[in-house]
Amino acid sequence: MNTDSMPKISFYRCTQIVFFSLTLIFLFSLTGWAQSYEVSLEKLIKTPEKYDKKKVLFKSEIIGDPLSTKEGSWFNVQSQNHNMSIFLKDHSSIDKITYWGNYKRKGDIVEIEGVFYKNGPVSNQRAVHLISLEVVRQGKELKRSVCVKKKKAALISLVIFLTIGVIYLIRIKLWHKK
């Protein structure tokens, strides 16, 4: 085979290709490193090893109250009957939250990005350390009406209670007279 007919690749071009490839690899791995895993709370709780010290992204409802300790602030979120603690050093993200879920309120639905720790640096607690928080859907006041059946049941049971109570009192009086 005649090697003279093949185009020659100069050393300079070779260096260019290697440098370009390395840059691409670095950029891709950087993207991978910076990438957040979109997970459900259930997955996070059931397979904590998989996400330990990794960036995670999930949506959930804010519940309860903001809590402050000497290490920083905490709040708790809930999604599909699973709960997770969120830790943050900077209190400012909490100010974005309008509705905290309780009996009378549906809490804000938020998208949380943070680093998940199986055994966290703060008091060894399993938690997500917040990077950013966005309110996806604002919560609301819950209107809890009383159904008619419940009102009727309450009335009927009250009447029965009073009737039997009066019968009992009459019997007691008669017994005392005897």
Binding site: D65, Q78, S85, S123, N124, Q125, K150, S157
Partner: protein, 494 residues
């Protein structure tokens, strides 16, 4: 000869039951008032229904089933057994109306868990529950822990024999004062002093971490009921882990331990000899079992820092040993423990706290007696033939280790072990892993409330019923239930 109950006996039992149910109806006025104060309209109706249905049933039993016989121990044991079933069934009414339970069975489970001071939960969306329903959930633990029967007899009962029967039927083996009504009143006095101290401490901590004053005061009461009565309910699904407060964890530890102490010991420390705490047999047994189990739980955690040791091991161990069931760990962390540590927690749950306390389980005194009996037997073998040998222990006074005491301790011990195993076998048969099944069965029977994750609304109904029965007989320590069942069987055989 077994005394078979007659229709007159049943009438007497139902009359006594009616009185207790009226007491329960009275307690339901508390969450009703909470609903009024906090402007929770739907829960208000739930508790109107709960109170009036219970009240009507109580009056009905009083009107139609008069006392026809002199009250004996069989009557009181029967009433206690039925009482716990009826309290849980009636207590479930407002819970099921709340809409937080998928069926009446789930609400009944929750109510039984409350009255038996267990703490296993089937409630859904707990974080959105009303103040009134949460007040009721926690009050059931206070009623069950202090003993609704104890409460009723301290107020209503005049005859000593009836009072003693109720007292023993609730699984309380020792009287503190010669008069059992006096004992009941002393237990209430102790509880109210601790209530004031506990609520003040919890309020201060909760308020400091950022809860509003209203929430702090409510949750202070709830956490006190759950800690002191070793119940383990909390208003949030994450249990104590919700609060992220080291001080709250310390405060709950203190009240868990106080609740797990024998009330006799409280009396002794308050009114007699303060040095008793250093001599008491139950305390010595507690120290021995606690340190042995601490070693066991920490072997897999060697090399960890203080925070990890405290949060992962110490808190769960105390919670298990006192039968409270609080946890400061997030969901799923506990079952991620190494097997050796899990076994330590299971053993701690099996043992429980002091007799005449609000805890469940085999109890420290019985474990101590069994251990001492084994040691005495070994000593007997190595002594010269014909040597006279008597073993004693110090529990308030010097007590001779008699055959009767040994027999009683072994009977209850064996019954607990059989029940622990039976519940575990049912869960294994339904496809759950063995360790988780044993953990949950022990937790239910010993009225602890720590969960391996089996207890959930989606678990099979048969398992829910099994755990309800375990919580019931575990709380009453078998005998009252067996006496009632035996009497009932002989009634139907006639």
């Amino acid at each position: 000869m077994i005394i078979s109950p007659t229709k007159k006996d049943l009438s007497t039992i139902l009359n006594l039951l009616g009185r207790l149910i009226l007491g329960l109806s009275f307690f339901m006025l508390v969450p009703l008032l909470v609903a009024l104060v906090t402007d929770e309209i739907s829960p208000l109706f739930d508790f109107i229904i709960g109170t009036t249905v219970s009240g009507a049933l109580g009056f009905f039993l009083l009107v139609f089933f008069p006392i026809k016989k002199e009250i004996s121990w069989v009557h009181t044991f029967f009433t206690v057994s039925l009482g716990w079933l009826f309290f849980s069934l009636l207590g479930a009414i407002p819970l099921v109306l709340s809409g937080h339970f998928s069926s009446f069975l789930d609400a009944w489970f929750e109510a039984m868990s409350g009255f038996a001071t267990t703490g296993l939960i089937l409630v859904q969306d707990l974080d959105h529950m009303s103040f009134a329903h949460n007040s009721w959930r926690h009050l059931t633990m206070f009623i069950g822990g202090q003993g609704i029967i104890l409460a009723t007899l301290s107020i209503l009962t005049q005859t000593r024999k009836v009072a003693v029967g109720f007292y023993l039927g609730e699984g309380r083996q020792e009287r503190i004062l010669p008069n059992v009504v006096g004992t009941a009143r002393f237990i209430w006095k102790v509880s109210f002093v601790y209530l004031i101290l506990g609520v003040a401490a919890f309020f201060f901590i909760l308020n400091r971490i950022g809860l509003s004053s209203v929430k702090s005061i409510f949750q202070a009461f709830w956490l006190f009921f759950a800690a002191f009565d070793t119940g383990g309910f909390t208003p949030y699904k994450q249990s104590i882990a919700y609060y992220h407060s080291f001080y709250l964890e310390i405060a709950t530890l203190v009240f868990m331990i106080l609740g797990a102490f024998n009330f006799n010991l409280h009396f002794w420390l308050w009114h007699k000899d303060k040095k008793e705490i250093f001599k008491n047999f139950e305390i010595k047994t507690f120290i021995f079992t606690f340190f042995s189990l601490t070693l066991l739980i920490y072997i897999p955690f060697l090399g960890s820092n203080f925070s990890q040791l405290f949060r992962s091991g110490f808190y769960q161990l105390i919670s298990a040993h006192t039968g409270c069931g609080f946890t400061n760990l997030e969901e799923g962390v506990l079952m991620g423990f190494p097997l050796l540590s899990l076994l330590a927690v299971i053993f701690a749950m099996m043992i429980g706290g002091g007799v005449c306390s609000t805890t469940g389980g085999i109890k420290l005194l019985r474990v101590g007696i069994i251990f001492k009996t084994i040691c005495a037997e070994v000593k007997r073998w190595i002594m010269p033939p014909g040597a006279v040998f008597r073993e004693k222990y110090h529990h308030l006074n010097d007590v001779l280790l008699s055959n009767k005491k040994i027999r009683n301790a072994f009977i209850i011990f064996i019954l607990f072990i059989i029940t622990y195993m039976a519940g575990a076998l049912v869960a294994i048969g339904l496809g759950y892993p063995a360790t988780a099944a044993l953990f949950e069965s022990v937790s239910a029977t010993a009225n602890v409330g720590l969960s391996s994750g089996i207890t959930s609304p989606s678990m099979p109904s048969i398992l829910k019923v099994v755990y309800i029965v375990q919580m019931w007989i575990g709380r009453l320590e078998f005998i009252a239930v067996f006496v009632a069942l035996g009497a009932l069987l002989s009634f139907f055989r006639k």
